[in-house]
């Protein structure tokens, strides 16, 4: 459980406030009520503690039962009134004016109307959605959501953003822009996700900016959401980031390529194989199978196999196997005999996939190589025998 700094401060403040209220209740009961009536001070204090504890227990009990009961009643109310509300909303979306009826229902069942309206806004497209959006304005839901967006409660802010993102931008654009620069990444991510589900012209670069500058979670989630826009992004936004060369955002952009697993015209990946940051070099190697093959490929992979950083060499080994670069045999043997067991295993599997020469080397290493190399070679050969078609993950 990891919380943002603001959340942590809020949690600590609430805990202290609650603790102080609890102590205050005990002290007040002791000083102003029990102590004047009892002979022993200790007895008065003990009874105050017991009484406040009892009161807390009863409050907790009543509260949890009321909550459970309220939830059950709420659920049954939704089941009862929702069909009628949906009927009105459906007809309104298809062109018949039911504003007065819905407004009447809203007075008695505001939550249920809001819930159904949001459901419809998610499902309906085109003119129907515009009519429903206008309805949300007329019923003052939009104003309510805008107010909720300014709440200190994160869950309420997220819900408000999710609802506002369903509306045409003339109703909610300003709030969404504010939400995209919210200090809390959870709100930014939530907003971006909802913007993508109803994307307007000009918003794509803004969302992609969050992908490359946000956390790994934001990147992973938004990469999936942006999958349909991969080609569009590969025209300008991604090349711009790759050419910028800033290590963090470049690695993020390369991660996104890997997450998509799509073949994209991005020759800008090749120069990154010589980037000063090892993380970028490793990520660029992983992205090579996803971009058009360049004549420099072989030379770059051979260069990476001699990289001073182990992680980069390990990636290079995998890529050499993937592209079947047979000129890499000497470097692969060196990796197989190296100190790192993971790289040695990767090198053994790479050699196993590089035809008869590679297998011959493995057989030799099995007999004459150092222990790590011998066991990695043995394992690779056994895998090759039992599952020749299997792509072995290392």
């Amino acid at each position: 459980m990891t919380l943002e700094r603001a959340d942590r401060i809020a949690v600590l403040s609430k805990t202290l406030a609650f603790g102080m209220a609890y102590v205050l209740a005990i002290v007040s009961l002791h000083r102003f009520y029990l102590a004047p009536r009892l002979v022993s001070r200790e007895l008065s204090l003990a009874m105050s503690i017991a009484a406040v504890q009892c009161a807390t227990i009863v409050t907790l009990l009543v509260f949890s039962f009321c909550r459970k009961l309220a939830r059950q009643l709420g659920e049954s109310r939704v089941t009862r009134v929702s069909p009628a509300i949906r009927e009105f909303l459906g007809r309104h979306a298809s062109g018949t004016d039911h504003l007065t009826d819905i407004r009447d229902v809203r007075v008695a069942y505001p939550r249920e109307v809001e819930q159904c309206l949001v459901e419809f806004l998610r499902m309906v497209r085109g003119g129907g959605r515009e009519r429903l959006a206008q309805l949300a304005v007329d019923l003052l839901f939009v104003r309510q959501w805008q107010r909720q967006f300014r709440s200190g409660n994160l869950a309420r802010r997220k819900k408000a953003v999710a609802n506002l993102a369903l509306l045409p931008r003339e109703f909610a654009g300003e709030v969404l822009q504010q939400a995209m620069s919210d200090p809390d990444e959870a709100v930014r991510l939530h907003t971006a996700r909802h913007m993508v589900s109803n994307l307007q012209p000009g918003e794509l670069p803004q969302v992609f900016n969050l992908v490359v500058n946000g956390s790994l979670v934001a990147r992973m989630v938004l990469a999936e959401d942006l999958r349909p826009y991969a080609l569009e992004l590969a025209q300008e936004a991604i090349p711009a980031v790759l050419q910028g060369g800033e290590p963090r955002s470049t690695r993020a952009a390369l991660d996104v390529l890997r997450a998509w697993g799509k073949f994209l015209p991005l020759p800008q990946v090749y120069p990154l194989l010589r980037h000063p940051d090892a993380g970028v070099r490793a990520a660029a190697l992983l992205a090579l199978p996803l971009v058009p093959r360049s004549p420099q490929l072989e030379m770059e992979v051979l260069h990476a196999l001699n990289d001073p950083v182990e992680a980069v060499r390990a990636m290079a080994v995998r890529i050499a196997a993937k592209f079947g670069i047979s000129t890499a045999l000497p470097q692969l043997v060196r990796c197989l005999r190296g100190q790192d067991a993971q790289t040695a295993a990767a090198a053994a599997h790479a050699l196993a996939q590089l035809g008869a020469d590679g297998r011959h080397i493995l057989e030799q290493e099995m007999v004459m190589g150092p222990q790590t190399a011998a066991s990695a070679a043995l394992e690779a050969l056994q895998r090759l025998q039992t599952a020749p078609a299997e792509t072995v993950a290392v």
Partner: protein, 476 residues
């Protein structure tokens, strides 16, 4: 009755004040942890994004995980446990079962059920008891079985670490069942704070009373038997109150051996699981704190309240006694192994708060509590403690116990809501009250015994009688 001598009165007065101080301090600390846990949990819940979690499951950027399951004489549940592990909702993981010298049919069942054949899989360098063989399945499942000489749970986990290749390893008891999404939940902190999180632990719940079908809990209910029901309350109190709060303070000292995920490199750097203790889970976590604090490295050890690992709790007093004795011994051994961290500002929250808390309230607590009961009774007989005060003292202490247990139930109801029916809620609330009359006192005595055994250096694990998940659930 003659009046007691002055020094006896003086002694009792001093004792009375020290007890009042101890009880007030323990109440204040427990209360603080519970309230902190409550607010932290609510804040954490507000931050949750279930839709995003579904998307994460499709991402190839999620780290790979190796699940290590040590198994010793688990013939009754092993096939079902492994099957349930192979059916988790997580894109990149493999399962490593370590048969720790079982004397029953565990290995034969594994070979037959999962069509195992010998493998030449490379083994790492951590020192363990001799390995008899490494097996893999002929079926297209990512299962590896390590067959080794008996060396205890920690040794089996180290053997699993030797075979694991993923950056993250999950240590899971073979008598536990994981919920489908459990792995994703515990891996999330690693993704949220890349390179910073060393270990995460999930919430453990009691499976007794639930319906289990094909290795999955299909209906959640509270146990109908008293003993598992009391343990359900204890688990809720420990996990939802204490651990959430300790995690919030980055001072979590215990990630339950039943379900925890670790950064493999970090575990290897720390030296693996210690085989010299029965509390290898706590010892490793304390050691990780110690190493990181000593090197001033930024790190997090996180408790995740959502993932659910279901475990079978003892239904007999004898087995429960053994288990609690072992837990207490493990705590004592871990605390004694890292006594240098105590009150040392260099070790931050773990050294200044968590470890002293464990020493004062978990290790010495049972002795102090029992001394309190004995002195009070003796004081009544000697005429130095008034009956009224003694009763009130007991009432306050019981009420406080009730308050803590009820808070845990309410916390569950406000946040997780895993027990659906009102009957379950009533049962839990009744157990929260009843466990304070006799059960808690008995546990205090057992814990004291465990402390004594721990200090004497008593070894041994003690057998857990397995009933099998489905039989157990039906019976409870």
């Amino acid at each position: 009755m003659t009046a007691p001598p002055a020094f006896v009165r003086g002694l009792y007065e001093a004792f009375e004040w020290s007890m009042i101080f101890y009880v007030s301090a323990s109440n204040a600390v427990y209360f603080f942890l519970m309230v902190l846990g409550f607010f932290a949990l609510r804040s954490h819940r507000a931050r949750q994004n279930p839709e995003a979690r579904a998307v994460l499951l499709n991402s190839p950027l999620l780290p790979e995980v190796s699940i290590i399951m040590p198994a010793h004489n688990e013939a009754l549940t092993i096939a079902q446990s492994v099957r349930s592990m192979l059916d988790l909702n997580y894109p990149h993981y493999d399962v490593i079962v370590v048969n720790d010298g079982s004397k029953d049919d565990t290995m034969r069942i594994l070979i037959d059920e999962f069509h195992l054949c010998k493998s030449t899989r490379r083994i790492g360098n951590a020192v363990t008891q001799p390995i008899r063989g490494v097996y893999r399945s002929r079926d297209p499942i990512r299962l590896t079985v390590v067959d080794k000489e008996n060396g205890g749970k920690a040794d089996a986990l180290n053997a699993g670490l030797n075979v694991a290749r993923s950056p993250l390893v999950a240590a899971v008891d073979s008598d536990s069942l994981l919920e489908e999404d459990a792995l994703l939940h515990v891996v999330e902190p690693f993704v949220e704070n890349p390179g910073k999180v060393l270990a995460t632990g999930g919430i453990i719940r009691v499976v007794n009373g639930c319906t289990v079908e094909r290795g999955r809990v299909t209906r959640i209910a509270t146990p109908s038997r008293v003993l598992p029901l009391f343990q359900t309350i204890e688990y809720l109190r420990a996990f939802l109150g204490g651990r959430v709060a300790f995690s919030f303070l980055n001072s979590l000292l215990l990630i339950s051996g039943a379900f925890g995920v670790f950064d493999r490199e970090a575990v290897l750097e720390a030296g693996g699981f210690a085989t010299s203790t029965v509390g290898e889970d706590m010892e490793l976590v304390v050691r990780m704190h110690r190493l990181c604090r000593a090197k001033k490295l930024p790190y997090l050890i996180v408790f995740v309240p959502e993932p659910v690992c279901w475990t079978e709790v003892p239904e007999s007093w004898k087995v429960l006694h053994r288990q609690r004795n072992r837990w207490q011994r493990g705590t004592v051994e871990s605390l004694m192994a890292h006594e240098k961290m105590l009150f040392h500002p260099r070790f931050g929250g773990p050294g200044s708060f968590a470890l002293p808390y464990f020493v004062v309230f978990e290790m010495l607590g049972p002795a102090i509590e029992l001394a309190g009961y004995l002195f009070t009774v003796a004081g009544i007989f000697l005429g130095v403690v008034s009956m009224k005060i003694a009763v009130l003292f007991f009432v306050v202490s019981v009420l406080f116990g009730v308050l803590l247990s009820m808070s845990a139930v309410v916390l569950e109801e406000f946040t997780m809501r895993r027990y659906p029916s009102v009957v379950d809620l009533l049962r839990l609330l009744a157990a929260a009250v009843l466990e304070n009359f006799g059960y808690r006192q008995l546990l205090t005595f057992w814990r004291l015994e465990g402390v004594w055994d721990g200090l004497r250096g008593k070894r041994g694990w003690g057998a857990m009688e397995r009933r099998g998940f489905e039989r157990n659930a039906q019976a409870a």
